[in-house]
């Protein structure tokens, strides 16, 4: 499963470009609060693990005492097509699709898919993007050229405070490029973008990921948190606060 072969390196968009960006690091202590509503959209390409990431978020939300509803793409589009999952967290059960402009957080496992789903993100919503591009399988007549660099610049220009890193590379360093989805959840937890604590989601990782893949996914999750803390500049203080 390990990706040792030719990897698409043509569109490296270094995370270093964003070093120094101030992320707002909020801390959720895993406490449920009333009147809460939090919508997360995960977008990617079939095979990137959108469904697993969605399930992990939903379970962590349930552990915290919220109601959840998700909508996933299953079926024909999974064959190399665009896929997304809508995760709705809150005190009330809602229709499973997030309305336009309502998502609080957009997790883009791939640059073009992040851009495609931007109309779901609310005006001051947060976004985490994997800079590692997945080029489309074939170029049907009339399909525009894929220029990941241009799309990442578009995102940067429109969403201030975007968190963009090569999560595929980060996951690869932890042991497998396939754990990019879990690394992105780590980044979301590490920057306080989730309505539950990182311990909640780590606990879900322990029960949801089969034992043989667990260590590498845990490493990807924690690796992402570490990376975020280095970027945001004060790792140790944040860590101790979180462990109180």
């Amino acid at each position: 499963m390990k990706g040792e072969g030719t990897k698409y390196e043509g569109t490296k968009y270094e995370g270093t470009k964003y070093e120094g960006t101030k992320f707002e690091v909020k801390k959720f202590k895993g406490m449920k609060y009333e009147g809460m509503k939090y919508d997360i959209l995960i977008a990617g390409v079939g095979g990137q693990g959108v469904v697993l990431a969605s399930r992990m978020l939903a379970l962590a939300a349930m552990k915290t005492g919220y109601r959840v509803s998700t909508a996933e793409t299953i079926g024909m589009s999974q064959r190399e097509g665009s896929v997304s999952s809508h995760i709705r967290i809150g005190d009330e059960i809602q229709g499973s699709l997030i309305p336009a402009g309502q998502a609080d957080l957009l997790i883009g496992l791939e640059p073009a898919e992040a851009v495609r789903n931007l109309p779901f993100l609310k005006r001051d919503g947060k976004i985490i993007v994997n800079s590692h591009a997945v080029p489309p399988a074939s170029k049907p007549p009339g399909s525009p050229e894929y220029d990941p660099e241009a799309l990442l610049s578009f995102l940067e220009a429109h969403i201030p405070g975007m968190l963009c890193l090569d999560f595929t590379q980060l996951a690869e360093e932890a042991g497998t490029h396939r754990a990019a989805n879990v690394a992105m959840l780590g980044a979301a937890a590490g920057t306080g973008m989730l309505p539950f604590s990182r311990e909640d989601i780590l606990a879900v990782l322990e029960t949801e990921i089969p034992e043989k893949h667990r260590a590498v996914n845990r490493a990807a999750f924690e690796g992402a948190i570490e990376k975020i803390e280095i970027i945001s500049g004060h790792p140790h203080r944040e860590q101790t606060e979180d462990r109180r």
């Binding site: 499963m1 040792e4 072969g5 030719t6 990897k7 698409y8 390196e9 043509g10 569109t11 390409v45 399930r55 939903a58 349930m62 109601r67 959840v68 509803s69 998700t70 909508a71 996933e72 299953i74 079926g75 024909m76 589009s77 064959r79 190399e80 097509g81 059960i93 809602q94 229709g95 499973s96 699709l97 309305p99 336009a100 402009g101 073009a112 851009v115 495609r116 931007l118 109309p119 993100l121 609310k122 005006r123 919503g125 080029p135 489309p136 399988a137 074939s138 170029k139 049907p140 007549p141 009339g142 399909s143 525009p144 050229e145 990941p148 241009a150 799309l151 578009f154 429109h158 969403i159």
Partner: protein
Amino acid sequence: MTEKKLLMGNEAIALGAIEAGVQVVTGYPGTPSTEALETIIRYADRCEIYTEWSSNEKVALETAVGAAYSGAKTLVTMKQVGLNVASDPLMSLTYIGVKGALVLLVADDPGPHSSQTEQDTRAFGHFANIPVLDPATPQEAYELTKLAFELSHEFEIPVILRTTTRVSHSCGDVELAAAEPDLSEPSKPAPAGVPVKASCEGFTKDRRWTIFPRLTAERHPWLENVQVQLSERFSGFPYNSVSGNGKIGIIASGVSALYVKEAVKGFEELFTIFRVGTVYPFPEKAALSFLKGIEKLIVVEELDPYLEEQALQLVGRAHLSVDVYGKKNGFFPVSGEYNVDAIIDGVNKVLADLKETASLSHASPAVLRGELPPLPIRAPTLCAGCMHRTVFYAFKQAAKQLKKDSQVETIFSGDIGCYTLGNAHPLNMVDTCLCMGAGMSIAGGLSRTNPEAKQVAFIGDSTFFHSGIPAVVNAVYNGADVTLAVLDNRTTAMTGHQPHPGIGVTALGSASKAIDIAGVVRSCGVEFVKSVNIDSLENSLENCVEAAKEAIEFKGPSAVVFKGKCVGITKPRTRFAIDTESCTGCGFCIKQLGCPAIFLPAGEDKPLIQDSCSGCGLCAQVCPSGAIRESGVKK
């Protein structure tokens, strides 16, 4: 004791059925219904439930009917187009009725996301006199499944639990009344073909089980009377509820009802909302009392204007002066999937028409859809290394040769499965596709009207057993000059790799007799039958082209069974790589095959092969400069 679980709608339905005491479960895979039966398979052994993947939906229903005649509680699962296949037995069954219980899970697909039609099973229930329950969430799906079993048992009739993609494939927290059956011990496969729980009363001979014109005439008044009784009963059900007391009424069912709630947030005082959970027979009494309290009515529903027609006839019959706004007068979209925004637009059109000052507002997105830069189209594609690509490419070469040598065209008819994706660029190998099993019959019809052209029909292994065989029989019987290409990848791939009659494994994983497709075709009287193993790396393409040519040139019905592995469930071989020294950058591999593993990096002139390569070797066989070779790297 209650337990809260995160469940997909289909899983919730399975647990609801188990709690209701289901004893026999049958079905045919179809998105978005498949996971219901798959979930029951996990519990089948422990809960003593006889479970099978049947050869098609008609057979699945008939099997369940036999069990229900004997007093068993039964569930049949299918997608909406599967109901069309099962509709022959179902239409007659309504007159006969059942003992035990018979519940059909039918999953509709507004959009559609992965279906041929946007048909509405609520309307089918109305047409066929079968009660239809329409849940909005996994929680309701679980509860309404149990209710469906109760109603079926009490009234001795089949009951439809109708879902949509956003219910079946949505996950939510579900409160279970009973603890989920324990799965901790390893499950052993049940003995093939033996019903594991025989606690039903068994079949009693009675004239009521044999349909006959006189029996139908006797039963028809009973059937109509049941509809009246159910409508009455449904009016008192909590699943049909009214909230608010505004002058504008909104009626909605399924997931649309939840979208409505969200769309009118902040303007609740304007509206009275009637949520209908038991859509057919329409709960007229409850609807009438709702209609009497409002001045205007907005109908919000995906697919057919079913509730709208029910409301209109009720308004007419009761001489109410309520204007109805829905699909029929252009206020709401007549097709496609709904969402909160579509409903806001529809309601605002009505509010403007009513000269109301209020109007619902959309949230403001970070970026509007119209502001997005051009984005690459990601059309669904055959997987890297899929055997179907090799077969399609081989037939393309054979047809090209035929055209060149003798100016003869070839028309390719497709069928339903992963291989429908053979229609995609650059293969373009599907000229017709209609429904399960239609490819060969359509090719037969085309052969009568285009005698100068050659006809090829592609069909998958599971689809062949589903409804392909009668077309083979017909081609032989009536002497059609058509070629059948069976794409046998040893699984029902598109719906998630279920077994089928050709594999020798049952739904529960026990061994059964594998039916040989080439043998079936031969026994139907097809004289030219050839089998090609596609998995051999040596000359797989050449062998396929050769077989395709021979079969096309054969006068009369001919068939080639291409056997290979589905890359979705088999270990990949060593990957292939492009030798940049010998690659001339001609791009032939990309332009001809459309394999998702091969791509041209931006700004480069030579393609690369990515990790997703599973080593089928097709590209190496087509590369004009022999630049693609096995890399020796295992995936």
